[in-house]
Symmetry: D2
Amino acid sequence: MSHTTKDKAKLLARVRRIRGQVEAVERALEADIGCADVLMLVASVRGAVNGLTAELMEEHIRHHVVDPAREPDSDRARGAQELIDVVRTYLK
Amino acid sequence: MSHTTKDKAKLLARVRRIRGQVEAVERALEADIGCADVLMLVASVRGAVNGLTAELMEEHIRHHVVDPAREPDSDRARGAQELIDVVRTYLK
Amino acid sequence: MSHTTKDKAKLLARVRRIRGQVEAVERALEADIGCADVLMLVASVRGAVNGLTAELMEEHIRHHVVDPAREPDSDRARGAQELIDVVRTYLK
Amino acid sequence: MSHTTKDKAKLLARVRRIRGQVEAVERALEADIGCADVLMLVASVRGAVNGLTAELMEEHIRHHVVDPAREPDSDRARGAQELIDVVRTYLK
């Protein structure tokens, strides 16, 4: 089962934003700005990587395990939705 | 106090490696490889970002707070070394 | 669907071990042992909490979403197994 | 150098709160409440453990490395304050 074009575009936009943030860290190191400021930039990379992870796990659950919105078995649908909520809580 | 040229080169090499890993995630998404494989690539980005964070914190402690190798006050030198060890444990 | 008695016993044993580790942190603080040693004890609590999280997520996937060992749809079975592997990688 | 009685009381209160949260996880497992609810309780333990870690690192920096409020060398004072801010950002 393949992901929709729209989901893929959204994920790619996230990854490109992360690449931009990593390039900002690179420029900050080259420009000798203070360590503490570089560390704050790196913290924002980490946050964005966690966000991407949550998004990819959610995609994986919906497309390759159980999609809560389409599953006829209501116990499974609820189980999958709870799992998505837990993943978001852990990675936000 | 400025960092040494050698330390800066090492940090830049780490950041460029992370940029390369992020580009690999981007190519993987474009090539429609499976979600689970993309997630494993993203896990390696996360590990590398943690490694960079530990390295930058250690640099910050040595250059802007207390360098255990040069500090004449032995209590402070030990405190700074313990802090570096703790940071490594938490971010490895 | 309820979890097996064996799974529940294993999870309870993990939680009780974590409680014991937290009590060790408490005793360490009361005994005024060094900060750095307390931090190392807290790092081990964190590791154990991550391990419990991974175990609980795996249980949830198996019992409330899709059990890879019993699922007749092979795509779903593979998707669920990949998800379990990803959760283990992220929380180990 | 020993920590103040007030700081110690605050840290002990935090650890006891975490012990209470771990006991709530134990009771929840014994009572067979749903996995997803147990996972949310465990997420709150994790958050509290991160908070305790940040507090202990800050204490360690102030008491065993450099206290920004008492350090006569203004570069060191600033470096230590930045480090405390970074630790809080990473562990909040």
